[in-house]
């Protein structure tokens, strides 16, 4: 397969994107690669290659039928240019998963080193999964956690080794026909994380999954299932990058999370795809009695992101939070947001969205807050703030609210601001360049969300914002 060298990168893509390198030698040398395009033969080949149980094989085929039958969404962003026929739906770069970084092929290890993942694992992570194209090529969990019964595997291994548990939950939170892209993922899923945290186990350091697309026209469809048992806690962090190519790749994940009574799950995303990736992801969690679910969603990269992490509050006093940052630069459209459904009494939620657009980018908040009949005493607060950095850029807010219960306390605030000439002048009068001054205003704007992140991720988020800001003004 021809791989576009970095030097031929199309104009208009973020010139400061640091992760746009690709690995051309490796792309020629994959262990298993499907042909382009999508049909039942490809689905069959993926399932057979993975040696899956029959129920999963059937699930995939049925999902493909749903995918083919469903029309493309006409709301949100423009997905009509996605060429489903030119995409590679499954590429396995290695024959088997490594438990030591040095067991990986040199080129792949080089990529992970450039991204700093082995280093981060040593310093502050309890476990790491590293997915390259369709497969998780490296996976490791601290021994201590294994002893406590924590499961942290790639989804394929999860299915092989814990089939009953997977079967019980897989596709129950996000049905295979939920939407066109969830159906696509259900048909061709590969990789992703499977996590089970036993009752009462609290994992102090984050578990991190890292998703890397290397090949051109790649479709990455990881599938994640997280089960947090009663009174347990986990913080799961995902990061993602891809090379810069002149043609598009597609990332379409499905993430399902179950938080049992008194459990707590925090799921943090730092999405930094290159500007040729369509990022169309379905994420949904259910939270039972006194459980807490938190989505912290940072979207800085991609061509188009459509992602609205959802929480169904099903048990009394369950609490949900969606904290979202969306940053759209030139040629980018971030259609992000969140959904919270209150289905039990005294449930509480917060949706806080910060969107930033610059250089003609388009960023917005699209969200749904639902309070069902019977969710007596539910409380919710939705705050969406937009910051527009120049005249060419755009911000949209679509805050849907549906309330069928009378005894509720629901608040909604929205602000749109432009970066002020006076603010910039003030900061510049202290010696900061225009770009530094703008970056400082933006960092401050998103601070209510970045301060929720562990230090390393807050630093990373701020660094990515700085990179996004560089060259944007002056």
């Amino acid at each position: 397969m021809a791989v576009t060298p970095e030097t031929e990168v199309v104009r208009g893509i973020r010139s400061d994107y640091k992760y746009g390198f690709s690995n051309p030698d490796e792309a020629e040398d994959y262990f298993f690669k499907s042909g382009r395009g999508l049909n039942h033969e490809i689905v069959e080949a993926i399932s057979a290659h993975k040696n899956e149980p029959d129920w999963m094989r059937k699930f995939r085929h049925k999902s493909l039928d749903y995918f083919l039958a469903r029309p493309l969404p006409t709301w949100g962003g423009n997905v009509s240019d996605i060429d489903f026929e030119s995409i590679f739906y499954y590429i396995s770069p290695t024959e088997k998963q490594a438990e030591k970084w040095e067991d990986l092929p040199a080129e792949i290890l080089d990529t992970w080193n450039k991204l700093g993942i082995p280093e981060a694992e040593k310093k502050y992570l309890a476990g790491v999964g590293a997915q390259y194209e369709s497969e998780v090529v490296y996976h490791k969990l601290q021994e201590e956690l294994t002893k406590q019964g924590v499961l942290f595997l790639d989804m394929d291994s999860g299915l092989r080794e814990h089939e009953e548990l997977v079967k019980q939950y897989f596709g129950t939170i996000i049905p295979q026909n939920d939407n066109k892209f969830a159906a696509l993922n259900s048909a061709v899923w590969s990789g992703g994380s499977f996590i089970y945290v036993p009752p009462g186990v609290s994992i102090e350091m984050p578990l991190q999954a890292y998703f890397r697309i290397n090949a051109e026209n790649m479709g990455q469809f990881e599938r994640t299932l997280i089960i947090v048992d009663e009174g347990a806690y986990v913080h799961y962090v995902e990061g993602c990058t891809a090379p810069v190519y002149s043609s598009d790749s597609l990332h379409s994940a499905v993430v399902e999370i179950i938080v049992k009574p008194r459990g707590r799950c925090r799921y943090t995303t730092i999405q930094n795809w290159s500007n040729n990736v369509y990022n169309l992801v379905t994420k949904r969690a259910v939270a039972y009695e006194d459980a807490t679910m938190e989505w912290v969603d940072g979207n800085l990269g991609s061509k188009l992101t459509m992602k609205y992490p959802a929480i169904w509050l099903l048990g009394e006093r369950a609490h949900g939070e969606v904290l979202s940052i969306a940053f759209a630069g030139e040629g980018q459209h971030q259609d992000a947001g969140g959904k919270v459904h209150h289905y039990a009494p005294r449930t509480t939620s917060v949706i806080s969205s910060k969107s930033i657009s610059k250089n003609g980018g388009r960023a917005g908040y699209r969200g749904l807050l639902e309070v069902a009949k019977g969710a007596d005493g539910a409380r919710s607060k939705v705050v969406c703030d937009a910051l527009i950095l120049d005249e060419e850029s755009r911000s949209d807010t679509y805050p849907y609210i549906r309330i069928d219960e009378s005894n509720v306390d629901v608040g909604h605030e929205a602000t749109v601001s432009k970066i002020g000439e006076e603010q910039l002048f003030y900061l510049m009068s202290r010696g900061l360049s225009e770009a530094e001054a703008s970056a400082m205003v933006v960092s401050g704007f998103v601070e209510p969300i970045t301060k929720e992140l562990p230090l390393e991720y807050a630093v990373e988020m701020n660094r990515l914002i700085q990179l996004q800001m560089e060259g944007s003004v002056g």
Binding site: E421, M428, R430, G431, S433
Partner: protein, 260 residues
């Protein structure tokens, strides 16, 4: 030649309205210049124009800083060269703490003075300096972790402006009505904070409506500013005369043309 030199400076708004109508001024380190004038005389416009505010255009004349043409420089370059403006109405920067802002500003200036290569101030040195200056200016410790100017009282804003000045160590500091809105205790603290910094390293231009700040900052030169021009110059005694007699003597035309 003085460190800061204004020669026949004219400043206009974007719509062409001329506010500053030919000002000559020369300021050196170790000097305190008071620019006194009534509201609407164009004092603040002069201050903003010196710092490079984009809404004010220099239509005639020149400004030299250390022999360099200040007009060709952006506000950031002026700050890096050693010019400072204490704002009359400092802007809030939500989400950015005083500490983080000050460190970024110091590092930006150090970088510029290091030929564009990063030269960050060591954190212990920064902390020591910050705590020392906060104590000297009676800025409470908790201010360091508050968001810059957000929810600050008028007095807190002015103190933090002077704190910034003390931390950034400019060669010429312009104080735009720093005395306004301060009670007498705050005024003393702030004024002494400035006075202590005036040295062979730094000169100050104190822009004010009232004489009272000059009780604590002894000016070497007093310039009476009316209708966009310096109409009278003298020593400290001129300030006292103004206090006693008001600006009427200097306002043959109606005060209030242009904006403050």
């Amino acid at each position: 030649m003085a460190l800061l030199e204004l020669k026949n400076l004219h400043v206009a708004l974007e719509d062409g309205t001329e506010i500053v109508k030919g000002v000559d001024l020369a300021v050196d380190p170790n000097e305190v210049h008071a620019i006194m004038g009534p509201n609407g005389s164009g004092k603040s416009t002069l201050a903003y124009a010196l710092m490079g505010h984009p809404a004010y255009e220099i239509t005639e004349g020149e400004v030299l800083f250390d022999g360099r043409d200040l007009v060709a420089m952006g506000p950031d370059e002026r700050a890096q060269a050693g010019l400072f403006l204490a704002f009359q109405y400092p802007h809030a920067i939500p989400g950015v703490t005083v500490t983080s802002f000050l460190r970024s500003a110091i590092n930006a200036i150090r970088k510029a003075r290091n030929g564009g290569a990063d030269d960050p101030i060591p954190v212990p040195e920064f902390r020591k300096e910050l705590l020392g200056q906060m104590e000297r200016l009676k800025v409470s410790r908790d201010m360091a972790s508050r968001y810059l100017n957000e929810g600050f009282s008028g007095g807190e804003k002015k103190r933090v402006e002077i704190l910034q000045m003390a931390m950034l160590k400019p060669r010429i500091a312009v104080l735009d009505e720093t005395d306004s809105g301060l009670d007498i205790d705050a005024l003393q603290t702030v004024a002494r904070g400035v006075q202590e910094l005036v040295s062979p390293e730094m000169g100050a231009v104190v822009i004010t409506h009232y004489q009272r700040i000059l009780n604590y900052i002894e000016p070497d030169f007093v310039h009476v500013f009316v209708g966009g021009r310096i109409v009278e110059e003298g020593g400290p005694e001129l300030a006292h005369k103004l206090e006693a007699e008001g600006y009427e003597a200097f306002t043959p035309v109606a005060v209030g043309e242009g904006e403050s």
